[in-house]
Amino acid sequence: MQLQIKYFGLIAEITNCDKETIEFSKTLISELLEELYDKYPSLKQKDFKVAQNHEIVSNNSKITNPEIALLPPFSGG
């Protein structure tokens, strides 16, 4: 499945892009993260959450949506 991964704030500085499309054949968020850690090793040290369907999801969640966002701590307001 093709996934669009969106990056924000400090995370987008590490990936050096706001979004990218990747080909993904596994099922879990945690498996996606393993692939991203391989591509961007310094992501591992960073604090972020994963959103799917515009909600924060746990790493054990299944990927059901082609848009996944990596969200560092919010700092609005």
Binding site: P72, F74, G77
Partner: protein, 148 residues
Amino acid sequence: MTKERKPKNVFKEGAISSEFIAESIAKHQSKTSIGAHNIFLGQVRADAIDGKTVSAIEYTAYEDMANPKFHEIRETTFSKFNLTCMHIYHSLGTVKSGEICLFVFVSSPRRKEVFKALEYVVEEIKAKVPVYGKEIFEDSTHQWKVNS
């Protein structure tokens, strides 16, 4: 509350002006069941960090998630408190130090409700809405803002 409220676009490009706030207040003069308004304004601080001073914050957001989250916060707040109306505006893009980046406005017949409601809304925004502030220093370096 059975009245249905549609999701709005909460974001405004750049700083929120005092004239915009005044217009928003003036529009409520026809709502004569209101007895109390409470307004929160977030203003960009010129914080000094390691000898450098913040000159502006550049805001970005995951808008597709942020607008539904703002809507969810609105709906929950209306269900928890007896409010006549509520407005939320958040800046995107560059807001200079001294300028306003967040405007939350709640109104009710009674004052006790607005105090509780406003603090609830502001804390929910800080906790649940994916907005990012990049603090720009005078020398053009930056750091990512962290909420406390």
